[in-house]
């Protein structure tokens, strides 16, 4: 799963700590999501989408089938 969380966060000029605080998760979780090491639950994906005012599909994209 690919995502635009890091790009959106930088675009809005907020730090990982601030985003983590707003989403009530740890900073490490934000870092892992941004690096693609961890795929968030549907609930957290909705919270992220709501935070950025976008839909889940606009932030998260499925990796192309190989």
């Amino acid at each position: 799963m690919k995502n635009k969380v890091a790009a959106l966060r930088r675009e809005r000029g907020i730090t990982q700590e601030e985003l983590a605080d707003a989403l009530e998760v740890s900073r490490q979780t934000i870092s892992s999501i941004e690096n693609g090491r961890y795929n968030p639950s549907l609930e957290l994906a909705f919270r992220i989408a709501r935070f950025f005012g976008l839909t889940i599909e606009e932030i998260f994209q499925e990796d192309e089938y190989r």
Binding site: A20, E24, V25, S26, Q28, T29, S32, Y38, P40, S41, E43, L44
Partner: protein, 135 residues
């Protein structure tokens, strides 16, 4: 939070009672065991009470602790580690029980080990079925 504090105070009191009984029965074989268990319970609950007290004084720290307890990634990591530990234990226990029986250890000790092993699997299947029905 208050409920947890009451529980910790109860555990601390129980530890204190066991410690006193352990000292009173010092000459007896059981005395040392009671003293050890009592001291352990007291230490554990005292540490938890102190942590709770420190966290309660600092709202920022309290929020941080709450976030870390509920953070889905950390919960996932914790569950994963527990699952791996369960798998590892179930690889280790059967050969250990076999070694015990070959070493001609008293039968009740081997049977106790087997019973613990079986109970662990029963608990696993209980939660497996329960969770399957829930989700």
């Amino acid at each position: 939070m208050k409920k947890q504090r009451v529980r910790e105070v109860a555990v601390f009191t129980l530890g204190l009672v066991l410690l006193i009984v352990g000292i009173a029965l010092w000459e007896n074989k059981v005395g040392g065991v009671l003293l050890g268990v009592g001291a352990g319970l007291m230490g554990m609950s005292a540490a938890r009470l102190y942590t709770g007290w420190v966290v309660a004084k600092d709202p920022k720290l309290a929020r941080q602790v709450q976030i870390e307890e509920q953070d889905e990634r950390l919960v996932h990591i914790n569950s994963f580690a527990k699952a791996k530990a369960f798998d590892f234990l179930h690889v280790l226990v059967p050969p250990f029980l076999l070694i015990l029986s070959l070493a001609r250890v008293q039968l009740w000790i081997v049977l106790l080990g087997v019973a613990i092993y079986v109970v662990d699997w029963v608990v696993y299947f209980f939660f497996y079925v329960k969770r399957t029905r829930e989700i």
